[in-house]
């Protein structure tokens, strides 16, 4: 059987495509690492943070103390711990299983209202299913995605809490305005393979909305900061 013409039809993927895909998958990796971080209950994490601050205040100089206080910040009503280390430490990683369901089903089972932005950049289409994570302390998080051909994913993560303490890289937070109100823009994320914070173009916008925190994530090469802000501003 002469099938050489079929074997000849195969090609190797372009290196640029492989590299781009690898970059696109990193945003998911970074988001997974944040899920792992938040196995620490937000309240317990807040208490540990407070204890650390108090310990530092008693033991180090006023100048250093001022700097330390900068690392624990609140931007747009959202709490952050900026760190150069992985806050999860060396403890074993646990993957929290998620539940997949339609948006309608999710809206029916979640104890809070899920609002969606009215505007997203052209070409982005809402995925039919969403994922829900439930933590032992009652905190729930829903993940909603929009896809566009050849572009990085747009993700909306809604956490049913406003007092969570989010771990971010040093110097990665800046304040932006959403409809005149303060919100936090975070650049980059935790690279789980290299065990370090780095900025490869990931953007995350933290917006308090109702009694939840809405976090919009994407890659700057496909969705600019201005567009991310417009998306957040189109929340009802």
């Amino acid at each position: 059987m002469n099938d050489k013409f079929l074997k000849d039809f195969r090609i190797e993927p372009r290196p640029a495509f492989v590299q781009d895909l690898s970059l696109r998958l990193q945003i998911h990796e970074e988001q997974t690492s944040l899920v792992k971080t938040h196995r620490l209950r937000p309240i317990a994490f807040g208490a540990i943070t407070l204890l650390l601050i108090l310990a530092f205040m008693f033991t180090i100089s006023p100048a250093a103390r001022a700097q330390v206080q900068d690392w624990f910040s609140q931007v747009g009503g959202v709490f952050f711990t900026a760190t150069g280390d992985y806050p999860g430490g060396d403890e074993p990683v646990t993957i929290v299983p998620s539940e997949e369901m339609s948006l309608i089903e999710a809206r029916a089972v979640l104890p809070f209202t899920v609002d969606l932005p009215v505007w997203v950049p052209e070409g982005y289409v809402l995925e039919e299913t969403v994922n829900i994570l439930r933590f032992g302390d009652g905190v729930e998080r829903v993940f909603i995605h929009w896809n566009a051909p050849g572009k990085a994913l747009l993700e909306l993560k809604i956490e049913d809490a406003v007092n969570s303490n989010w771990a971010v890289g040093l110097g990665s937070i800046e304040e932006v305005l959403i409809n005149g109100k303060s919100a936090a823009l975070v650049r980059g994320g935790w690279n789980f393979d290299k065990k370090q914070w780095e900025n490869q173009g990931q953007l995350q916008l933290y917006v308090p909305h109702q009694a939840q925190t809405y976090i919009f994530s994407s890659m700057e090469k496909d969705i600019s900061i201005d567009e991310l802000i417009l998306i957040a501003e189109s929340l009802p």
Binding site: F5, L6, R10, H28, V93, E100
Partner: protein, 177 residues
């Protein structure tokens, strides 16, 4: 709790980076053998891997191999793609010019005159089941036994269909020249 244990166990065992690197060329070629152009095949491949990456927690190693799981996702991605494209185009266009289902970038327009472009169009015009078998055999580089497991057809049946389709493709290619 058992499920959580299983998830932790496979998270330790599965080397996702290696699995993805091995599957990437095969999945991209699987899409190409469905007759889509190269840039579209890349988009569909990326979409497959993004879905797989997000859903990797739901993968159960005792149920299937990672490659089988990835090709199931690829298969659904391909079905969704064709379903969406068909909705977007008027029926008469589909009947007259099946090749218009795919994108038409300047880069790929340059390919049209060569044999590969000719084969791509012929593949696109194949019935869905035959195209799927060719894509699994030559794109995904699966054995007839693996294809049998994936599709539910018997190995003998797969061998017979493939033989017939390859002969027909070869004849069509010769006629086009």
């Amino acid at each position: 709790m058992d499920r959580l244990k299983r998830l932790l166990e496979h998270e330790k065992v599965v080397n996702w980076e290696k699995e993805f690197a091995t599957a990437l060329p095969r999945i991209m070629n699987y899409f190409r053998f469905h007759g889509v152009e190269n840039l579209v095949a890349e988009d569909l491949t990326a979409s497959t891997f993004e879905k797989a990456w997000r859903k990797r927690q739901s993968y159960l190693s005792e149920k299937s191999k990672v490659s089988t799981w990835l090709f199931t996702i690829a298969h659904h991605t391909m079905i969704d793609y064709f379903r969406t494209r068909i909705k977007e185009l008027p029926l008469d266009i589909l009947e007259d010019r099946p090749e218009r289902l795919v994108s038409n970038s300047p880069e790929e327009a340059a390919q049209r005159s060569d044999d590969k472009e000719c084969l791509r169009r012929i593949l696109l015009a194949l019935p869905e089941r035959e195209r799927e078998l060719i894509a699994l055999k030559y794109g995904a580089e699966m054995t007839n036994r693996a294809i049998a497991k994936q599709t539910g057809l018997s190995e003998t049946n797969i061998g017979t269909i493939l033989n017939r389709v390859i002969k027909a493709l070869h004849t069509q290619m010769e006629d086009e020249k």
